[in-house]
Symmetry: none
DNA sequence: ATTAATTTACGATTACTTACAATATTTTTT
DNA sequence: AAAAAATATTGTAAGTAATCGTAAATTAAT
């Protein structure tokens, strides 16, 4: 599983777009390379004018760049694998369900898969991202219930206190969530605190939690965890997921499905 | 197992289309040829401009994925008039304001006008339609607070009980509303009951109500009224509005502005 | 038999890591 | 509040590993 520098640097920018600031130490751990490598990466990106280097890490102040690494670009990463994951996940949706779809790009492919299934009648979808909402807008058999909250312009996700309030009185049957990183030890991690808070809360309101992650998310660790592995009922991923990690998770009793 | 070169290179492109990044090592293994062969393939594809070569592999150079939400800027005959109305309305927005924009197409032009004004600092916009929300998403100086509620397929507006609940605790400085019909006698009318309910409610929560209607809306009457003329503080319209009706409204004490 | 495609081999290049001294930052002491 | 000590972060250099391009050797295709 050879890493490409381009890939890594893009990941750094992606991370930065989500949380404005990154530290060399965290990046080193998350991306599994030495700190020196991260430093040269950051210095390179600094020279290119893409980030602002500071002692201990880097900042991304320019709004222009944040938008560059928005949802649209994330969507194109690993797209075919993500589509397979979405297709498999859609088989777990039934008529009359009330499901939640988070704002991750992997979960968006689930929305697309649901659209194609015309056997589903009268389902209610609660999307926590605006792009998913739009994806599902045209479907007459799908009720879209949008949560209130602040709209993040980088990712199009809906978060904040109003969002948590919105979910307080709801009971969701199935919550489909993505993650920035997943590992047996650290659990499910993400990079943005507001989203972490929201996901934590959603899990308490959902009867069944299904995780959708492509293989690249294994061995990545985000800023903070929103759940342990054993808090979820299913994990759906693709064949590029590292086998030994999958095995470890399975041994702990959590169902892991590989989409092909 | 002998492949044709073109076949193999096509396969590389296909793999790339899904993964965005590919490494020489992985390609060599999966296509069962030596790394040198892969390298010459990649270099060839690079020369053709189909991929971008980097140390260790290659990445896809895709023409900027078009924003797929194919903005349904409703092809209205009065578009230029609406734009003028939006531009004039934007002069009533100040820094630090908290304003509400409804889901009508006329008010959408106000959102576009606000985007262009970079003298406005730190304003909060509550849009009751998803298209307005997206229009304002990119702007760093604008906080977008999305109300919760059901998303209507046809118009992209957010309505229903959850929406009313959302506004219950809010106090809005300025509410910019459209209307399906406007007349001195019937007041401001609309065609959809949920939207009527919502607008009635919004008016009770707003300190100032500003109506944006193009001239064609005069002498149209909808299903039911959401407000009387004298409940609003300003009406902004264009030169095509019938003069005698405008005069009648002005005489009742409501300010009517004509955008040019 | 001739040409094209691929592989093997190898020195050159690039990328990454470890190690370490220099600098910056924070904490503790005075 | 300043000085001293402890901690963290930095850039550089040397060593290791991976990847590169080239060319000769091998294999496949016509």
């Amino acid at each position: 599983m050879s890493y490409l520098i381009q890939h890594r640097q893009q990941k750094i920018l992606e991370l930065l777009a989500g949380k404005e600031h990154v530290s060399v130490t965290d990046l080193s751990k998350s991306l599994d390379v030495s700190e020196v490598t991260i430093r040269t990466d950051l210095n390179k990106l600094d020279k290119l004018g893409k980030i602002a280097r500071i002692h201990g890490g880097a900042y991304l102040i320019e709004e222009r760049l944040k938008q560059e690494y928005t949802f649209q670009t994330r969507k194109s990463l690993n797209h075919s694998n993500k589509q397979k994951i979405g297709a498999l996940a859609s088989t777990f949706v039934d008529s009359s369900d009330c499901i939640l779809l988070d704002s991750s790009s992997t979960v968006l492919t689930l929305a697309q898969a649901i659209k194609k299934r015309n056997d589903l009648k009268d389902i209610t979808v609660i999307p926590t991202g605006i792009w998913t909402a739009i994806e599902l807008m045209g479907c007459s058999n799908i009720n879209v219930l949008l949560p209130g909250g602040y709209l993040r312009h980088t990712t199009g996700s809906i978060t904040g206190l109003p969002t948590n309030d919105f979910f307080r009185d709801l009971l969701i049957q199935k919550a489909f969530l993505g993650a920035w990183g997943i590992s047996y030890g650290e659990g499910l991690t993400d990079t943005h605190l507001l989203e972490i808070e929201l996901k934590k809360f959603i899990i308490t309101r959902a009867r069944e939690v299904i995780i959708l992650v492509d293989g690249s998310k294994f061995r990545q660790i985000g800023l903070s965890a929103y759940a342990n592995i054993n808090q979820v009922s299913k994990i759906i991923t693709d064949a590029s997921a590292p086998a030994e990690e999958v095995e470890r998770i399975r041994n702990s009793g959590v169902e892991v499905l590989i989409a092909n």
